[in-house]
Amino acid sequence: MRLFVSEGAPGSLPVLAAAGRAQCRAELLISTVGPEECVVPFLTRPKVPVLQLDSGNYLFSTSAICRYFFLLSGWEQDDLTNQWLEWEATELQPALSAALYYLVVQGKKGEDVFSPVRRALTHIDHSLSRRSCPFLAGETESLADIVLWGALYPLLQDPAYLPEELGALHSWFQTLSSQEPCQRAAETVLKQQGVLALRPYLQKQPQPSSLEGRAVSNEPEEEELATLSEEEIAMAVAAWEKGLESLPPVQPQQNPVLPVAGERNVLITSALPYVNNVPHLGNIIGCVLSADVFARYSRLRQWNTLYLCGTDEYGTATETKAMEEGLTPQEICDKYHVIHADIYRWFNISFDIFGRTTTPQQTKITQDIFQRLVARGFVLQDTVEQLRCEHCARFLADRFVEGVCPFCGYEEARGDQCDKCGKLINAIELKKPQCKVCRSCPVVKSSQHLFLDLPKLGKPLEEWLEKTLPGSDWTPNARFIIRSWIRDGLKPRCITRDLKWGTPVPLVGFEDKVFYVWFDATIGYLSITANYTDQWEKWWKNPEQVSLYQFMAKDNVPFHGLVFPCSALGAEDNYTLVSHLIATEYLNYEDGKFSKSRGVGVFGDMAQDTGIPADIWRFYLLYIRPEGQDSAFSWTDMLLKNNSELLNNLGNFINRAGMFVSKFFGGFVPEMVLTSDDRRLLAHVTLELQHYHQLLEKVRIRDALRSILTISRHGNQYIQVNEPWKRIKGSEADRQRAGTVTGLAVNIAALLSIMLQPYMPTVSATIQAQLQLPPPACSILLTNFLCTLPAGHQIGTVSPLFQKLENDQIESLRQRFSGGQLEESLSLKAKASPKPAAVETMTTAGPQQIQVLMDEVTKQGNIVRELKAQKADKNQVAAEVAKLLDLKKQLALAEGKPLETPKGKKKK
């Protein structure tokens, strides 16, 4: 038989490995053909590897060739192998070819490459760990292992794409890679060039179809349906029957919450929001809301939990804002701290403390850490040349300087970058620099600054990371970011600024300087705790007993995963360092970004004016949580998820279960006589509950929400199949069956109310009140499904939980938040701060901005006219027209004219 291969064709790997493993290699003649050569006469598209059999027949499927080799060696086919090979062809290959295409052809890296295959890799890992078999189809390595190994090898041989948390996959892959047939195949195909050896082949291939139209997806990954053994069913039933008895006593709420030796102590922080910005939905889901779900979950597990956050108040931006609004920095902080606190209160965020960074404790702790760093030689001094405005008597941060670009001569280049040529500028190189505040010309002055000696701290940092990362729940993006910082080499980092609004530097010669906000903002967590309890060190100097979970968006990772750990390690004071760094990706708004200046997107304080309850916002934001990949907020999707998942699935189930108890059984939970179907359902619910726990323990918040919806779907199906409303009118046996179904359903509803508590606390409490769920059951969530509403339990009044969102309502909200709020917020600003200074800056900015917009409208108008004249592609014209309309809208807003809404376009 003759095997046709092509240089760099990934299919050669499993085929050669299988031939080696099944000892058919000797009989094989190998011919190398070009990547575009059609070997198989009846196939239109080129395909390699191909095996031509002695009968003249062709095998053109990689798996079929491997299978053939194994069959020749006397192996027999089995269901499990078939299942793996079918999965490989239908699920793994599309994902892998996308990942390899990104990596090899498009030269992408990191998450871009990893995210298409994440789900498939997790599936393999789960299967291996659940069956606790070393190989895919049993105790010995076989066909399925070779085929999957061969498919995965090009990607996974780079350790960056084989995450440590997938332990079972990791060891399976290592075992196979070390075997002789596999090693030989790998050497033959990849020729020690790694994945790049595939480039000549993959470049010639059409783009994988799985890549086309891959939009940002809000759909959660599908989990496979669980398999149940008799044992699992028996265990689930036993736990159910024990009921409320198995609940441990509820731990009384302590004040203050302190860690207890020998117990699980969870310290949770959410990134400190910067005080002068009103947070948008992306900020909210990125840290405070995500951390809140985990904190609530942690309390349901009866772990000692402290959840803290606060406003980050020091820095240039506060000073600027203060100038704009004609207030002192302290007044600005006081004002905005309240706004923040109000927003989070409305979203029902369960902080144990929401503090601020402008406190004496902050100064004390920051200065202490700093002194220790100085004493241990981790602080350097250097001279930095900076622009200083003599008129304002201060050094100018980059954003306060404007001038002529030294490269292209553009007149309004910013201090850090020229908007015209895009080159990065060092502020002192600007020609004719101007202070943006007073318009006078600043001078170059040298200024002494302090630097944290990160290179010197590199070694303890890496030792700590090596100890911390394996087995922890750091999100993959956080690991990537930290790894790349270390790989690129650590540089000393400036920790001082020439400002007044900040923590003073306690060093002679630095009296007029303060710490750079990022040196002391992360210390804010410590000082906020210190303001909460004088025993704060029990949390923060107790790394053996405290697990620290820090939540943030990915842009904050370096400061939490690297800079602060370096300060803390250098201070040598036994600080508690982050055990689990949970970073989200970004949330987009509809198809673009949130933008405060353009008024695009929903901001925290506006969410409450929409009339949509906080719990619905929480649900939708958590449902689309950018976990693992970016996601997008969409009004239409929100309507859809509310109406389908909440109203028709969850709400419908819980309401029906409760209504049956009230209507058919006078409000008392009926007797339940479980049949084998009911036991199976019990076990399914239990399994899904355990899955929920596994996911939340790993802080996979979005995925765990899906478990709740799955249970409710099971429940709906169960009611639908058993039709208690019909049976209640039937024979004695039928009525008993109706009772069992109703009883089981209402208990599932009770379980859902507890599982829902971290996500939708108000709805959860409403359900619990409707069902009169006994108090201990409300505050503890075990890993088993218990009968918490035994026969005879009386429930309260049941009423619907959710409201339908209507199209018009959502459409008008979309309009309102698509940029139209600019005008509103400007006028609000003017009202809020009637100081002349503020009004002046606004009116001077006005005409300029209008002129710029008018120019852009004219320019864009010309583009559209030109395209139309050339009879250009419809879509292209439409896109340019959309841009034009958008510009016109902005212009109208800037001029204060009413918006002309194009009619007849409202409905899509």
Partner: protein, 174 residues
Amino acid sequence: MAAAAELTLLEKCLGLSKGNKYSAQGERQIPVLQTNNGPSLTGLTTIAAHLVQQANKEYLLGSTAEEKAVVQQWLEYRVTQVDGHSNKDDIRTVLKDLNSYLEDKVYLTGYNFTLADILLYYGLHRFIVDLTVQEKEKYLNVSRWFCHIQHYPGIRQHLSSVVFIKNRLYTNSH
């Protein structure tokens, strides 16, 4: 045709009396069979092969190593190429390739009727019913094979019978 319905058809033509219940998983509605004494099975061809064994008709999976590999190859083709694409161009390529493959064959493995014929017949049915007379003549070998399988006892069941014309009408197009 939903995968579960297709498997029920297969059960009938295999003569299996007890009707299994199938659930569907995910966006592509992949069938799942919960077996009584073991783990569940996922995937159309996996379950189909399992049913064939249950019915003690292993010969439908092929008799020699070569035949077994060929059957599995066409089963894989069915779920990746026939089910994977539904745009017209892709289906035309499938029909063109199959037509050329079947030139000298009665069944997909050559001379023996197998599971591959059954599942490819079920999978292609929705496309073949929509073909014009001219297209059917263009893919003559596919038409011959398809017509043969639909008349095989017990296979077609409630599916519509597709009419093929014996006389050539478009002699020039070949």
